[in-house]
């Protein structure tokens, strides 16, 4: 049974439809990525799951129970790491984590252990007594995560936790998320950074204009699109005739040529690069660097939604 089940979820802000009959099932033990541009409905979905937002239509169950504001038993099993840092400036690192952990765990001794573990997990041992204002952006994000996961929830929802984070902290956060997953937590991870989603998520849903446009593993998603390989050749001079001839090669379905650089998009198939290089050799066309790329989630997003992820 799915840990989170969303069926026909509709959420309107006035005339604007934020979620349009969204359907999702999130299974136990996965790192589930919600990928979409800003305003696509990712955070709205999260807030509906958490029962913070009213919605117009649909059903949401978490751990098999309908999620309501007073479903405390379910809430105890959920951890939330919001997009905005949600800590108290007047409390130290330790106190902040202890406060939020105390909203779920009554036992003082157990809580102390959990707080210490969380501090160790995010690497804030040297900053226990520091106030949030003394922390850098990356450390603050780590504190934000610690506050959300200290009570060892079974379901952790991370809403863009790496926004405005330095690469070092970002890597630590991503590794930490994978560790939490390996320790048994199910993760819902929203982001508009496709590299992150590709790196850590076991399954991804592409959200656009409030509906789920595609869902699957990253490989499955890549398999859904036409692009199998993109060949890029730099420092090459071509005339219109030669471009047309390249376009007619087997598996080539799209070409863009700008400033002596050609990008050849090929559908799935083998020996695409060999065929292109053979043609160039036959025509005695000189060229510079050549490289090929497999499709990325951005290609998937582009093909499925018709827009770039970061447009």
């Amino acid at each position: 049974m799915a840990i989170v089940h969303i069926e026909n979820l509709v959420k309107r802000y006035g005339d604007f439809i934020a979620l349009d009959h969204l359907n999702l099932d999130i299974e136990q033990g996965e790192i589930f990525g919600l990928l979409g541009p800003n305003g696509s409905g990712k955070s709205t979905t999260i807030n509906c799951i958490l029962s913070l937002l009213k919605y117009d239509k649909g059903t949401i169950t978490v751990f098999g129970k309908e999620m309501k504001p007073d479903t405390y038993e379910s809430k105890k099993r959920i951890g939330i790491v919001q997009q905005n840092v949600a800590v108290f400036d007047q409390l130290s690192v330790y106190e902040n984590i202890d406060f939020f952990c105390g909203l779920y765990v009554k036992d003082k001794v157990k809580r102390k252990e959990l707080v210490e573990e969380a501090i160790q997990f995010v690497g804030l041992e040297d900053f226990k007594k520091s106030r949030p204002k003394k922390l850098s952006g990356g450390l603050l994000r780590r504190l934000n995560i610690a506050c959300g996961i200290a009570h060892k929830p079974e379901l952790i929802i991370l809403d863009e936790p790496t926004v405005a984070v330095d690469p070092q902290s970002r890597n630590k956060i991503l590794t930490g998320i994978q560790d939490l997953n390996q320790a048994g937590a199910t993760i819902i991870y929203t982001s508009h950074y496709m590299e992150e989603v590709e790196q850590i998520c076991t399954r991804v849903a592409i959200i656009d204009h409030g509906s789920c446009r595609a869902i699957g593993t990253t490989e499955e998603l890549k398999g859904m699109i036409k692009t199998g390989e993109t060949i890029t050749i730099e420092a090459i001079a071509l005339d219109d005739g030669q471009i047309s001839e390249i376009k007619s090669l087997t598996n080539v379905y799209d070409i863009s040529y700008e400033e002596q650089q050609i990008k050849i998009k090929c559908s799935m198939g083998s020996h695409n690069l060999t065929r292109v290089l053979n043609y160039l050799q036959e025509q005695n066309i000189s060229f510079g660097r050549v490289f090929t790329e497999l499709p990325t989630l951005n290609d998937v997003f582009l093909e499925i939604t018709g827009t770039q992820l970061r447009d």
């Binding site: 913070l52 939330i80 949600a86 800590v87 007047q90 406060f99």
Partner: protein, 374 residues
């Protein structure tokens, strides 16, 4: 609940801005008042020249004439003149003001300044004493003899005002009562923080707290208890400072005074909670609204000038009956000067009523647990 209380307490006492307004600012302002009033002590000041013009109906104002007679000498230099001569004298700056005595009493001054303020303060003081005599004659006729005896002994003056509540207080005390009222109202700076950090649609910490496995009502109640307790202590600290450092005497009704502090701090906290609960304005905008309301309320209770309070009571009397700061300041007055427990009780009930109304409105605003937008 203890966990919530502990951390709320730590947050609030470390919240420097709010604690400044709720605790430090009234202490500083009180000290300034003390220094300012000390400098205008009648012992070191020359008598203020003032003209008295008798209009029709002046014969009814025998008590005011007596009052002026008491003042004549050290405090005032009184001259009875015709209206025309009085105006001429004021134009030549021979006098600082003109008291018109008719069916009503009024004061005309040519320019503002300490002398004008004192003349206005004297008139306000007299009017308050008249009201006091009328009230006591109506509510406690048995005490009227004590009061009149005190008056005839010359205890009542602009610097020494009679008290039948075991405390002898000068007229400047009214400013300090208004200051205490302002300090109570400034509890709003602490109260504001409650809904702002509890509502998911107002802050990120509010959203995170809303996701906790604790009942929202429990969170609201524990936050409220902490803030009220802290501000009650703040007001008590101010009172202790006024009593032990600035040597103000609050009389013997300690229990009643503590009740004023309790309900006074409650109304300030409730004001903050109410403003924090309604609307999705920025924190700065809410602070602006709160500051405006608390300053107007304190101003009308006599914080800036006793005349403002007196004139407001004359023009819009119902404001004094519902203005929290006036109710607080007057409660001190009724208790320490008038010894009028009935009026004191009435004020306490009105204060409690206003607090309940504000709390109910706030609760209706914050009871939602799901929001239209975040």
């Amino acid at each position: 609940m203890l966990h919530l209380i502990k951390y709320r307490f730590l947050q609030m006492i470390r919240f420097r801005t709010s604690m400044f307004w709720a605790l430090a600012f009234p202490l500083i302002l009180g000290t300034f008042f003390y220094i300012a009033f000390g400098n205008t002590d009648s012992d070191t000041r020359e008598a203020i020249p003032v003209a008295v013009v008798e209009q029709s109906g002046a014969e009814e104002q025998t008590y005011f004439k007596e009052f002026l007679k008491e003042m004549d000498g050290d405090t005032l230099k009184v001259s009875y003149l015709s209206e025309e001569n009085a105006k001429k004298a004021m134009k030549k700056e021979e006098i600082n003001g003109i008291y018109d005595i008719g069916e009503d009493l009024s004061l005309t001054v040519d320019k503002s300044g300490i002398s004008a303020s004192i003349l206005q303060s004297l008139l306000a003081s007299y009017e308050r004493q008249s009201e006091m005599i009328t009230d006591i004659a109506k509510d406690h006729p048995e005490k009227i003899e004590t009061l009149l005896a005190s008056l005839s002994d010359g205890v009542v003056s602009h610097t020494k005002e009679v008290s039948i509540g075991a405390a002898t207080l000068d007229t400047d005390t009214s400013f300090f009562f208004a200051l205490i009222a302002m300090a109570c109202m400034y509890g709003c700076f602490l109260g504001l923080y409650n809904p702002m950090t509890t509502q998911a649609n107002l802050s990120a910490v509010g959203a995170r707290k809303s996701m906790g496995a604790k009942s929202k009502l429990l969170v609201i109640i524990s936050d409220m208890l902490v803030v009220e307790a802290i501000h009650f202590v703040n007001v008590c600290i101010l009172l202790l400072y006024l009593h032990f450092v600035l040597k103000m005497n609050f009389g013997a009704h300690i229990g009643y005074i503590l009740l004023i502090c309790l309900l006074g701090s409650l109304i300030g906290v409730c004001l903050g909670i109410l403003i924090g609960s309604i609307g999705k304005m920025s924190e700065g905008a809410k602070i602006g609204i709160m500051l405006t309301i608390s300053m107007i309320s304190s101003g009308l209770s006599g914080l800036f000038a006793d005349a403002l309070k007196t004139s407001t009571e004359g023009v819009i009397p119902w404001i004094a009956k519902v203005n929290p700061a006036t109710l607080i300041a007057d409660s001190f007055y009724y208790l320490t000067v008038y010894d009028d427990i009935n009026r004191y009780r009435q004020n306490m009930m009105i204060l409690a009523g206003i607090s309940v109304v504000m709390l109910v409105i706030s609760f209706l605003a914050v009871r939602r647990e799901r929001y239209e937008s975040i």
